[in-house]
Structure formats: structure tokens, C-alpha cells
């Protein structure tokens, strides 16, 4: 059963090596991605959080293939977007966000399967983590944030923050399956959007592709920073902005998944995000 009225976050306290899943009924208006990420950042600001978040379309629709990351770079809030298979694994873990709080005493590798978290030593064999085919591996052993051995983020804000927290790697495995209520409408819409690939602002390439995107473009390797808040709340690829800036397409996607957002909800999103940034900066 898909939950469309609340957002679920996996809160990980690195200092005590504990975790809990929390449901937030007041985060629905933030939609997902950067919106939910910023609000969770505000909620946990005292714990110096790093927030990974996905949006309502991740896992369900093509080109909604990115993961939003909110970090503080010496007090300046940065929103980063990373490609690869990470967003699908977070979504299929049954959660909307992962919040990494505080700092570990020892170097640690975090192994997440759905909402279960275990903390492993830094010399852990990465191949022993999670479930192959259903996992996303983030290896920090080379001091760089690399998903699937390929996808990274712009600048080095994230590496710096993760290493300060003594995180040397993460594995996220998602084993939840979903079934949209009106499955035939969902399938039809999925095909229609996949057929819009000529509207992307990137050319198909010979590179590794983000999950649920056929392009294999040369732009996905380094991720994105900043940009359109609706796109990044969904969390779609920046180069699919022509598709996901079409409010009709967005509403069709949200409605077929059971979300009941209104035009007013989406119109008020930029201000909601702007106000949140102002409060946390």
C-alpha cells in the first residue's frame, strides 16, 4: 500500500549508532526531494544533519532518477543531486529520506536494508553488504563520494561532510514493491513519458545510466547543484525539465500514484522552500 499523506524518514544517529523511522504528517506540503530535505534539515539542525531524500515520482517514472542531498558547507546550505541507482533503492526501502545526524566516534560503514540499519567497521568488504541487484553502494574509501563506482556530486561539499562524520561508506538495499491502485493508467502514463526522451536536453551516450533513464548521457556522472525547485522536489533530472515543468504531466503522475496535491500546493512550494532556506541559513 502506498502512503501518500505522510513522509517517512530514517533517522540515523551516528554518535549513539542507533536509528529510528519517523513519520511526518506535516511534511506533505513539501512534496519531496529538496522540499522535504530542507524541512528535515531544519528539524534536525542541532544534530548537523546530512539529508538524502527522494520525491514522489522516483522509482515510478522515467527521468525521475536523482537523489536530493542537503548539506551545510560551513553554514551555507547546499542542495546537490546525485544520479545512479540510489534514488530507486531509497524509494524501495519504503522511506522518503535518510537523515544522518551527529558524528561517529570511529570510522563507520552504514548498511541499510529498508529501515534496518547496521554499523560496520571501515575495513568491511563492500561486496558483503546488502543484496546484490537491490542495493546501491556508496564507497568513500577513496575519500570521494561515489555511487556505483561512477556517479558523484559537484564540488566536494558532500565528501567533506561525510568524512567529518567518519562515514566511510553506505549501502542502501530496498526490497519493497508497490502497486499503484489504477495500474493500467500508470503503465500507460509511464510509456507516454518514456516516449518523450527526445525532449531531454541531453543526447544519448555510451556512459552508465541512472536507473529508470535510458539515456546513458555524459552529464549524469557529476550530478547537479541548485536549480528548479519543482523539478528537484520530484526529484527529476534537471535535463528532463521540459517534461517535468509541464504541470499537466506532473499532476497526471501524482494523481495516478494517489497523491492529491492541488495547483495551490505546487504554486506555494517555491515560497515554502525559500522560507525554509531563510530560516536555516
Amino acid at each position: 500500500m502506498m502512503e501518500t499523506k505522510i513522509k517517512k524518514a530514517l533517522i540515523i544517529d551516528l554518535a549513539s549508532q542507533t536509528s529510528e523511522v519517523k513519520s511526518f504528517s506535516d511534511l506533505n506540503s513539501y512534496v519531496g526531494g529538496i522540499g522535504v530535505g530542507l524541512k528535515l534539515y531544519e528539524n534536525y539542525k542541532e544534530c548537523d544533519p546530512i539529508v538524502f531524500s527522494v520525491g514522489p515520482l522516483n522509482g515510478f517514472f522515467p527521468f525521475a532518477s536523482k537523489t536530493s542531498v542537503i548539506v551545510s558547507d560551513d553554514g551555507v546550505i547546499e542542495d546537490l543531486y546525485v544520479g545512479g541507482n540510489l534514488s530507486l533503492r531509497i524509494k524501495f526501502s519504503g522511506i522518503d529520506a535518510i537523515v544522518l545526524c551527529n558524528k561517529s566516534e570511529e570510522n563507520v560503514v552504514i548498511d541499510i536494508t529498508n529501515t534496518s540499519v547496521s554499523f560496520k567497521p571501515e575495513d568491511t568488504d563492500f561486496n558483503s553488504l546488502g543484496l546484490p541487484g537491490k542495493r546501491s553502494l556508496i564507497d568513500m574509501s577513496g575519500k570521494e563520494f561515489i555511487v556505483q563506482g561512477y556517479f558523484s556530486t559537484p564540488e566536494n561539499f558532500l565528501e567533506k561532510c561525510l568524512l567529518e562524520k567518519k562515514i566511510y561508506g553506505m549501502c542502501i538495499t530496498g526490497t519493497e514493491n508497490y502497486k499503484p491502485i489504477n495500474f493500467s493508467s500508470y503503465e500507460k502514463l509511464y510509456s507516454e513519458i518514456l516516449n518523450k526522451k527526445s525532449e531531454l536536453r541531453v543526447e544519448a551516450g555510451i556512459y552508465p545510466s541512472c536507473s529508470n533513464c535510458p539515456m546513458g548521457c555524459g552529464k549524469s556522472k557529476v550530478g547537479e547543484i541548485g536549480g528548479n525547485v519543482l523539478i528537484h522536489s520530484l526529484v527529476a533530472c534537471h535535463f528532463a525539465d521540459k517534461i517535468y515543468s509541464d504541470i499537466g504531466v506532473v499532476f497526471s503522475c501524482l494523481n495516478v500514484l494517489g497523491y492529491d496535491y492541488t495547483h495551490e500546493d505546487l504554486e506555494s512550494l517555491p515560497k515554502l522552500i525559500e522560507d525554509t532556506i531563510r530560516r536555516v541559513s
Binding site: Q148, S211, P214
Partner: protein, 80 residues
């Protein structure tokens, strides 16, 4: 001998997982659990790009393999 779906050009796979998601949609599921196709990511030390390995469950023949073949952007899959 019935025809089946095979990964004839696995070296061309870009890891998009469209085949995985298509096979799941045919079973009215969105997710990776109990998928009849799995894409494994590997990386050799010193190599710039990951490599992808495709594992196809023989039960794939019970669903629409033509649609799965056709969704692959790299023409990795064939029906033989």
C-alpha cells in the same frame, strides 16, 4: 525449443534497469523484489566505468518478453 529472452550483448548494458522495471510492471509491481531480471553492478579496480551483469530467470517466458526486449535502449536483449 521455446524461444526465450537472452542478454546477447551484455557488454553494452548501461545499467538503466528499464528491463527490470518493465518485467515488474508486467506483474503489476513497481520495485525490485522478486524481479525476474536483475542487473548487478561490478567495478574492477582501476577501471573508470562499472560493468553490468544481467541475470534472467527462466520464468521470464511467462510474461511479455518482446516488450522487455524492446524497452532496452542498448539492444542488449534478444529473443532466441
Amino acid at each position: 525449443m521455446p524461444k526465450t529472452l537472452k542478454a546477447v550483448k551484455p557488454e553494452k548494458c548501461n545499467g538503466c534497469e528499464l528491463c527490470v522495471l518493465e518485467s515488474q510492471r508486467q506483474l503489476e509491481k513497481v520495485g525490485l523484489e522478486e524481479s525476474l531480471i536483475r542487473v548487478f553492478t561490478g567495478k574492477e579496480a582501476g577501471e573508470e566505468y562499472p560493468v553490468f551483469c544481467i541475470d534472467i530467470d527462466p520464468r521470464i517466458n511467462s510474461i511479455g518478453i518482446e516488450k522487455i526486449r524492446d524497452v532496452c535502449p542498448k539492444l542488449v536483449l534478444e529473443i532466441e
